[in-house]
Symmetry: C2
Subunit: 337 residues, 2 copies
Amino acid sequence: MAEQRSLTIADLGELDLIERLKPFCAPNAVGDDGALIAVDAGHRLVVTTDVLVDTVHFSDRTTPPFTVGWRAVAANLSDLAAMGAAPLGITVGLGLPPETPWAWVKSLYEGMAACLREYGGAIVGGDVCRAAQRTVSITALGQVWPEWAIRRDTAVPGMSVVVTGAHGGSRAGLAMLLGELEGCDTTAAAGWIRSHQQPVPRFDAIFELNQRMPLAGPRPAIAGMDSSDGLANALLQLSKSSGVGMDIMRSRIPLPAGLSAAVGRDLAINWALYGGEDFELVLCLPPDLATSFAAASGATILGKTTHTGIVQVLFWTADEKPTPMSIPLSHKSFQHF
Amino acid sequence: MAEQRSLTIADLGELDLIERLKPFCAPNAVGDDGALIAVDAGHRLVVTTDVLVDTVHFSDRTTPPFTVGWRAVAANLSDLAAMGAAPLGITVGLGLPPETPWAWVKSLYEGMAACLREYGGAIVGGDVCRAAQRTVSITALGQVWPEWAIRRDTAVPGMSVVVTGAHGGSRAGLAMLLGELEGCDTTAAAGWIRSHQQPVPRFDAIFELNQRMPLAGPRPAIAGMDSSDGLANALLQLSKSSGVGMDIMRSRIPLPAGLSAAVGRDLAINWALYGGEDFELVLCLPPDLATSFAAASGATILGKTTHTGIVQVLFWTADEKPTPMSIPLSHKSFQHF
């Protein structure tokens, strides 16, 4: 008798698994960096959650525990910033093997506390339990006025596509830590490593943006998300959620200082698009707002949203040849299963 | 040269680990079933988090995945009920080995959804990632009017100590599932197993309690928590947090139907006090309120809070001999490290 093997989540893959879990979730729980929950007419709660696992998301080789803590908090706070929300607090669920050194746990919490002290919020709850692997599960809570919440599905044709900072630095920093890059300019390399180890949630950019919004009356529609899974992923997600096309000037993609010189422009652009974990914001804004926001915040206008009928991101090269981005997301972003 | 071995969390033990993590947390994050966060003057958010790990908190032997899901949600909702809060939603962080059957994950979510459908709230966010062990990390969010929040540190001498239901059933159900008990009354045993597998967060009791509160003006001070870590633990925690003593009538401890007959009264009482996971509420109420609440909800008045100068729980036996409970908590409740 043939053994009946049951369908595993490895058979499904991460994307299919998530699709199958969606029907169990509230409709507003999926599709943005965080979920919006109505507390009362004047407040929306934003909630986002991340599970980080030893050897999958971090390792002692590239990530000292202070850095694991900082990055875990920064990634969650970045999701709040991407929703336009201010942080309220986080909960921390820890799974730990009994032989974990106390010094590791202490340093992890010091990293979390340092990031919260810098950008707001506090540790408001937690749980510890025994586990085979070090596991850090963080849920971040934020709040936002309903009309100030930033979604992914609200871009329309004719908006400017804006990015708040350089991309590729986190990937370059990882390459440095893994010893894959040598003989680089040391000042530049230190910057990339900092991008990787101590990313910055861009609440400052949200502040600049809100400063430029009308004091009374309706706010102009905008859309946005963070670039935690790579710039290419953010552009595609925004296009897909909003049903718009995008024309992106490849030459305008902002790269960290020294990266093109060190690895060549093509690899630098590749890391900018697909490296991930730069935690910048990608925003679709009305052109006037985009111009004044970019001038004040140092953000870059990459291109514009279009009305092509099909959702695609066109990268215009210097010689004016459009290159539709056709690489399937699933082949480029990290898949857990 | 002697090898310098670093201090591990197994060396510290769970209670010391938690003490060392407290300074990193907001002051309102510890000491109650959930943390209270001010959203605005009229609302408090309640947040609570639990990490459940395969082989530590559940196993395929005693807990089918539907049950893992139900219990995980019920335990978190019970923390909300213990704070007097109504559920808003939960986030679910899953760590899974790639070979996990999809059927297991589906059934887990069906169990979570069934519990949420019954008692309120929805899955509002989540994350999945690869891990060596099945890990379910849940954060539950609730809300409560500031003056309706139930704390542990607000009991005063002269209150009645009330418990909302029978204790020991969950431990008895586990014993049945492990095959440790045989020849029991099958109806009774089915009830114990149900207590273990599908515990009920007692929002109904909170509703009954609030029905008896004054419509206007200040509410009488009350205190409370849930009995997830055992009835003895709840009594001791309330005493300790509030700085009161307690006189508890051992004979009044409510036991599930058939348990004394099956295992003898002493073991039944032992399981009621130390078994844990019954998820009832233990409340300290003004005597008049306690009487009307108990009559309406089927709760039991176990005894009263006292002004002994020392914090202790005295169990009065039938022959009127007081037995101070001197067993250290740490020897009786489950320690992860």
